[in-house]
C-alpha cells in the first residue's frame, strides 16, 4: 500500500514538472529576440513563405493561445514540422532515437562493468597502490572531457592501429558484428566519464558500509572477507549507487550530443546540433522535449527500483 502511494505521489509530482518543462521548451522559439520567422528563414525569404510559417507556428495568435495550441499538439505526439527537412519532427526523432539509445545504454553498461569492480577493489584494498591506481584512473575519467578522449581514441585505435573504424554507424539489425565494431569507441568515450564518477561513488559508499557494526559482527562470527564484502557490504552500498543512475543517464544523454558529433553517429544529439546550425527550431524543441521526457521517465523508474531495493520503504 505504502509503495503504491509513494510511487503514485512521485507520478503526481511529475505532472507540474512536466508542465514547467514544456514551458521551457516552448520558450525556445518564442524567446528568440526579434521575429522568429526572420531567425528561421532569413530576412530575404519570400513573403508567402514567411506568412505560411507564421501561421504554422501560430505567431498571429496571442501568446497563451499559442502555448495551449502547441501543448495540445505535443500531447498528441505532433511535434511540428522541420523547416529544413520538410518532414514531421516526430518522424525525424523516431528515426534517430534508436542510435542514441544504443549509444547511451552501451556507454552505461561499459561504465558499470568498469566502475563496480574498480570501486569495490579500491575500497577493499584501501590505501594500497591498487586503490591509488583506481582512484587516479577514476579522476582522469571524470576530468578528461569526452571531446578529447574521443579524438585520442580515434587517433590510437582507428588511425594508428587500424583496429576499429574511426567514425560512422551501422544498424545492429543490418550487420551485428560491424555494428559492434562501430559502437566500441563512441560507447567507451561516452562511458568513461560515468565510469569515473560511479567508481568514486561505489568506493566511498562501500567504505562507509565497511565501517559499520554489522560488518564487524559478520567478520567476528568468522565469515570470510569475501563473503563479508560481497554478501553484506556491497549489497547495502548498491542502494545509494542506484539513485545516481538517473542523474548519470541525464549526463549520458547530454554527453551523447558531443560524442555523436565526434563519431558522426546519426542520433538525436546530432539532430539537435544541426537544428541549431540550421535554425530549425521545431526540431531543436522536439529533441530537447524528447530527451527531457526520457530523463523524467528514467528518474521515475529509478524511484520505483529504489523501493524494490530498499526494504525499509516497503515495510515501514
Amino acid at each position: 500500500m505504502r509503495v503504491t502511494s509513494y510511487l503514485g505521489g512521485r507520478l503526481l509530482g511529475a505532472i507540474p514538472m512536466l508542465f514547467l518543462m514544456s514551458l521551457v521548451v516552448f520558450a525556445i522559439v518564442y524567446l528568440i529576440p526579434g521575429d522568429p520567422v526572420d531567425a528561421m528563414l532569413g530576412q530575404d525569404a519570400e513573403r508567402s513563405a514567411r506568412e505560411a510559417l507564421r501561421r504554422e507556428l501560430g505567431l498571429d495568435q496571442p501568446l497563451w493561445r499559442q502555448y495551449v495550441g502547441w501543448l495540445g499538439r505535443v500531447a498528441q505526439g505532433d511535434l511540428g514540422r522541420s523547416i529544413r527537412a520538410q518532414q514531421p519532427v516526430r518522424d525525424l526523432i523516431v528515426e534517430k532515437l534508436p542510435a542514441t539509445l544504443l549509444l547511451t545504454t552501451s556507454a552505461a553498461l561499459i561504465a558499470l562493468l568498469i566502475a563496480f569492480p574498480a570501486g569495490i577493489i579500491a575500497a577493499v584494498k584501501r590505501n594500497t597502490i591498487v586503490d591509488l591506481l583506481a582512484m587516479v584512473g577514476a579522476l582522469l575519467g571524470v576530468s578528461i572531457p569526452s571531446f578529447w578522449s574521443g579524438i585520442m581514441l580515434i587517433m590510437v585505435f582507428a588511425l594508428t592501429l587500424g583496429w576499429l573504424p574511426a567514425m560512422g554507424y551501422v544498424r545492429p539489425t543490418t550487420d551485428p558484428m560491424a555494428a559492434l565494431r562501430y559502437l566500441i569507441l563512441p560507447a567507451l568515450t561516452l562511458g568513461s566519464v560515468m565510469a569515473g564518477s560511479v567508481t568514486r561513488q561505489v568506493r566511498a559508499q562501500l567504505l562507509q558500509e565497511l565501517g559499520r557494526d554489522y560488518v564487524r559482527t559478520a567478520r567476528s562470527k568468522g565469515l570470510r572477507e569475501f563473503g563479508v564484502v560481497v554478501r553484506h557490504a556491497v549489497r547495502n552500498s548498491l542502494i545509494p549507487a542506484v539513485t545516481v543512475l538517473g542523474v548519470q543517464f541525464s549526463v549520458l544523454l547530454g554527453g551523447a550530443v558531443i560524442t555523436e558529433q565526434i563519431f558522426a553517429w546519426p542520433g538525436v544529439g546530432q539532430l539537435a546540433v544541426n537544428a541549431i546550425v540550421n535554425r530549425d527550431y521545431p526540431v531543436l524543441q522536439g529533441v530537447i522535449l524528447t530527451i527531457a521526457l526520457l530523463v523524467t521517465l528514467v528518474n521515475l523508474a529509478v524511484d520505483a527500483l529504489y523501493v524494490v531495493l530498499d526494504p525499509r520503504l516497503r515495510l515501514s
Binding site: L20, F147, W148, M155, G254, V257, Y281
Partner: protein
C-alpha cells in the same frame, strides 16, 4: 574520493580543539592532492589573467608561411592550420575559459542562493513553486539546456556564459534551500527569533553563514563543469565563434589535421583536462576539509 588522512579521523590522536575554520584550513593544507589541485587552478587563472604578459605572439595572427609546424624556437608549441601560434592560443584560451567559468559560477550563485534561501526560509507555496521551477530546469541534461539557451541567445561568449550560469542555478538553489531547511529549526535560530530579530537579519546573519562550506564545494565542482561545457559548446561550433582562441574550438579545428599534426589536438586537450582535473582535486579537498558530515 576522500583523501582525508586516517590520522585526522582517529579520536585519540586528534590535537587540541581549534576553531572549525582553522581545522578545515589545516586539513586542506595536509591534503597533497588538494594542494596540487590548488596549484593547477591558480596557475591556469594566473596565466589567463596575465595572458598579454605571458605570450607576446598574437593568438589570431595568421602566418601562411608556417602552417601546422611542430615546436620551434619561434613557436614553442608549434602552429595550427592557419599558422597561428598554438602557445598564444592556449594562453588566451585559458583566459577565456577561466573568465567564462568564473562569471558563470558567480551568476549561478548570485541568482541561486537568494532563490534557495527564500525557498527554504519561507516554505509553503513559495517554496513549492520555486523548487518545482528549479526541478524543471534540472530535468534537462546540463549540456542540452545550455545548447537550447545558446540557440535562443545566439552563439557567442556572452550567451555561453549566461547559459552556463542558468544551467547551474537550480543546483545552487537546491543546495542552499537544503542547508536553510536544516538550520531553521535549530535552537540558535529560535533564540534569535525570541530576541525579536527580524527574519531577514536572522537569515542573513545567522543561517546563511552555514551555507558557505557547501556552496564553496559546489562552486568548485561547477567551475570544472562550466569549463567543460564552454569547451563543449565551442567544440560543437555554437559557443565562442572563430577566430577567438578557445580550447574547445582549437580541438574542433584540430580534428581535420590530427593525422598530420598531432600537436594541435594534444595541446588544447591536455590543457582542458588538466584544468578540469585541478578543479576536481580542489573540490575533493575542499569537501574533505569543509563537509561537516565527513569531519567525524
Amino acid at each position: 574520493m576522500s583523501s582525508s588522512t586516517p590520522a585526522s579521523a582517529s579520536p585519540e590522536r586528534r590535537p587540541a580543539p581549534e576553531p572549525p575554520r582553522h581545522r578545515a584550513l589545516g586539513r586542506l593544507k595536509r591534503s597533497r592532492l588538494a594542494l596540487i589541485g590548488l596549484a593547477i587552478v591558480g596557475l591556469t587563472a594566473l596565466v589567463g589573467l596575465l595572458a598579454p604578459l605571458v605570450v607576446t605572439a598574437d593568438p589570431v595572427a595568421m602566418d601562411f608561411g608556417a602552417l601546422l609546424e611542430g615546436p620551434s624556437r619561434a613557436h614553442p608549441l608549434g602552429t595550427d592550420q592557419f599558422g597561428r601560434d598554438v602557445l598564444a592560443r592556449l594562453v588566451w584560451g585559458a583566459r577565456l575559459s577561466v573568465t567564462i567559468g568564473a562569471v558563470a559560477v558567480a551568476l549561478a550563485l548570485v541568482v541561486g542562493v537568494p532563490i534557495g534561501a527564500l525557498s527554504g526560509y519561507a516554505g509553503g507555496a513559495i517554496d513549492n513553486v520555486l523548487m518545482r521551477c528549479m526541478d524543471a530546469l534540472l530535468a534537462f541534461p546540463a549540456l542540452l539546456l545550455a545548447l537550447g539557451l545558446v540557440a535562443i541567445m545566439g552563439p557567442g561568449s556572452t550567451s555561453t556564459t549566461l547559459a552556463i550560469g542558468v544551467v547551474y542555478t537550480p543546483g545552487v538553489a537546491r543546495l542552499t534551500r537544503g542547508v536553510v531547511l536544516a538550520e531553521r529549526p535549530q535552537e540558535y535560530v529560535q533564540a534569535a527569533h525570541a530576541l525579536g530579530q527580524r527574519d531577514r537579519w536572522v537569515l542573513l546573519r545567522h543561517i546563511m553563514p552555514n551555507c558557505v562550506s557547501a556552496l564553496v564545494v559546489q562552486a568548485s565542482v561547477n567551475f570544472a563543469n562550466a569549463m567543460v561545457i564552454e569547451a563543449g559548446l565551442s567544440f560543437l561550433g555554437i559557443g565562442t565563434p572563430p577566430p577567438t582562441a578557445s580550447w574547445g574550438l582549437m580541438l574542433n579545428e584540430a580534428r581535420a589535421f590530427m593525422s598530420s599534426a598531432l600537436h594541435v589536438a594534444i595541446v588544447p586537450g591536455v590543457a582542458i583536462s588538466l584544468a578540469v582535473l585541478g578543479w576536481n582535486l580542489l573540490g575533493d579537498g575542499l569537501r574533505d576539509a569543509l563537509d561537516p558530515r565527513l569531519t567525524e
